[in-house]
């Protein structure tokens, strides 16, 4: 198992390095030079040259990249040229808001989607199964920013059940939770149906397998057969999809954060793109990438914990 984790971990680091280099290259190739953004259009060539030299922008690309990666490895993401604050600090300040939102959405969608999928598989063709199928397709098809807008208009503006804006007072957990509800629903709603469909399909497959027949032949209670013997196998594809899906969710979080005017990486990214604040753009994307890769790694590890055959085949 340790071996499995080290191998997958090393692969993840490699992926992050590649992704970051790619991103660095892309920003490097963007038209417009950072010095004129920072100094304004009326800066003298001499001033620009000085800034370029200070920021190392006059060096060859590969040297710049090497230096950037070296800095990142030590946790230095550069400096926000406007506020002169450390990019790492700015990004880490916003990260918890996004993480809370994404995990609340995932947790909610899983807690509802998995039992719904199991039920649909056991009672295949029942009215609840059909309704779930219909709603799932409907909710999967609707983008999360649309859900966000409607949720905002209906639940906050009309019914006034939930606050519309912000993340709540710091220190007041109940208030923060109330602020979390709508964005999390907006983000997670489509996932409930998606997870339910996935679980249903793999559950139906697993229930046909011989070992389930064995468990039944030993008279095990149906809830043990479904919940332990079958679900543990049926959940594997869902875990993989969730690991990858968190990436999609991050882009959903961007919209949710803008619509609900909620702090977070998405909003930070949006604002820094608008102001061409490249170091902060770079830093937020980098942290998002690391988070995404970490999530896929985590889902691989969870799968290996659940299924000994996976550990075996890769651990050797």
């Amino acid at each position: 198992m340790l071996r499995f984790i080290t191998r997958r971990g090393a692969l993840s680091v490699l992926i992050v390095v590649l992704a970051v280099s790619l991103l660095f290259g892309m920003i490097h190739m963007l038209p417009g030079d950072p010095a004129s953004v920072i100094l304004g259009p009326r800066a003298t060539p001499a001033l620009r040259a000085e800034l370029n030299e200070r920021m190392g922008l006059d060096r060859p690309f590969i040297v710049q990249l090497g230096r950037f990666l070296g800095n990142v490895a030590t946790g230095d993401l550069g400096e926000d040229p406007f506020s002169r604050r450390k990019v790492a600090d700015i990004v880490l300040e916003q990260l918890p808001f996004t993480l809370t939102l994404v995990f609340a959405a995932i947790a909610g969608a899983t807690l509802l989607g998995v039992p719904l999928g199991c039920y649909s598989a056991i009672r295949r063709g029942s009215w609840l199964d059909r309704l779930a199928a219909l709603l799932s397709v409907a909710f999967i098809a609707v983008p999360s920013f649309v859900v966000a807008l409607y949720a905002l208009m209906f639940f906050s503006v009309q019914l006034r059940w939930f606050p519309a804006i912000g993340a709540g007072d710091s220190g007041d957990l109940a208030d923060q939770a109330r602020h979390l509800v709508l964005p999390a629903i907006a983000l997670g709603l489509g996932w409930i149906g998606y997870i339910a469909r996935l679980v249903r399909a793999s559950m139906l497959e697993v229930l046909e397998e011989n070992h389930v027949r064995t468990a039944r032949a030993f008279g095990l209670p149906e809830r043990v057969i479904i919940g332990r013997y079958a679900l543990r196998i049926a959940i594997l594809p869902t875990v993989t999809i969730l690991g990858l899906g968190i990436g999609t969710m991050l882009s959903g979080a961007l919209f949710a954060e803008i619509v609900f005017s909620r702090p977070g990486i998405g909003k930070l990214l949006y604002e820094s793109v608008m102001t061409r604040n490249y170091p902060v753009v770079m830093g937020s994307v980098l942290v998002t990438t690391v988070f995404f890769v970490a999530c896929t790694l985590a889902s691989d590890i969870v799968n290996a914990l659940l299924d000994p055959r996976l550990r075996e085949s890769e651990g050797r």
């Binding site: 397998e209 011989n210 070992h211 027949r213 064995t214 468990a215 039944r216 032949a217 030993f218 008279g219 095990l220 209670p221 043990v224 332990r228 013997y229 543990r232 196998i233 659940l306 299924d307 000994p308 055959r309 075996e312």
Partner: protein
Amino acid sequence: MSDLPDTNVLEVDNLSVSYSTEGGELKALRDVSLDVPRGDIVGIVGESGCGKSTLISAIIGLLAPNARPASGAIRFRGEDLLGVNDDKMRALRGDEIAMVFQDPMTSLNPVLTIGRQMRDIQYRLPDSKAEKNARSIRMLQRVGIPDPESRLHDHPHQLSGGMKQRVAIAMALMMKPALLIADEPTTALDATLEVQIIHQLKRLQEDIGCSILFISHHLGVIAELCDRVAVMYAGEVVESGTVREIFHAPEHPYTRMLLACDPGAISERTRVLPIIRGFLPDLVDLPRGCVFRDRCDSAIEACSDKPPLQVRGADRLVACHRAGETP
């Protein structure tokens, strides 16, 4: 249990089972009758598709969802299982009636340890986890698994096919069932392993004192293990009796053909199924008369009428118009 000394543990009486299929009603079992006396090992032989698995699924109450309600009776210790509710049936399964399935590679749960699975089937007992593990270890020892304690931590894929089937047997016998049903338990194993496991099974059966219903298409195994045998063809029992009688003086032409293909020596087994010319009849649209008529060398005019089961000798039954004629 000693209150019913000479009775049958299991009596199957005129059992018929059909499946709903796209082509129509597939009559998988028709008027099958079969007794399993207490303490005996009863074999069922027949080609694939003759309804062996359907028969045992009906006995343990786990027929496929597209099966129609079975007719007839399946009496387990006198109680008709076709009449009991799901909970009662589930209470019997694994406790009084246990199963070993054909394919050891897929019949154990791949993601749970052997120990976990063996503990789980003892869920009816109030014992602690340690006591349940201890019982599992004793049982694994009895089926000849070396170092049983560490096997508890293994997952099925870490064991060989033979070991897995021993584990399956240990699991089935752990609750000391009155009846063990084994559906071709050794078909997937090689011949030497098969012999070992058969002998082990026989020893355990004597120790535990259970009855066994043993399904196989390998006559050698039946000859070695069983006291009685029923020969099935296309959903019917065509001949039944003691292993001695059937193997030494088969009366049904189908039994004779099976024996001609596979002389029944367990060591020199033919890996392939017995091959008999012709095909199984269509179970959706059954021919009139004897089901075996189309493939029979000695068919006569009378065979266009269905032959009744005739009692021949002590308790041998044969469904053939020509039974008793000297061949």
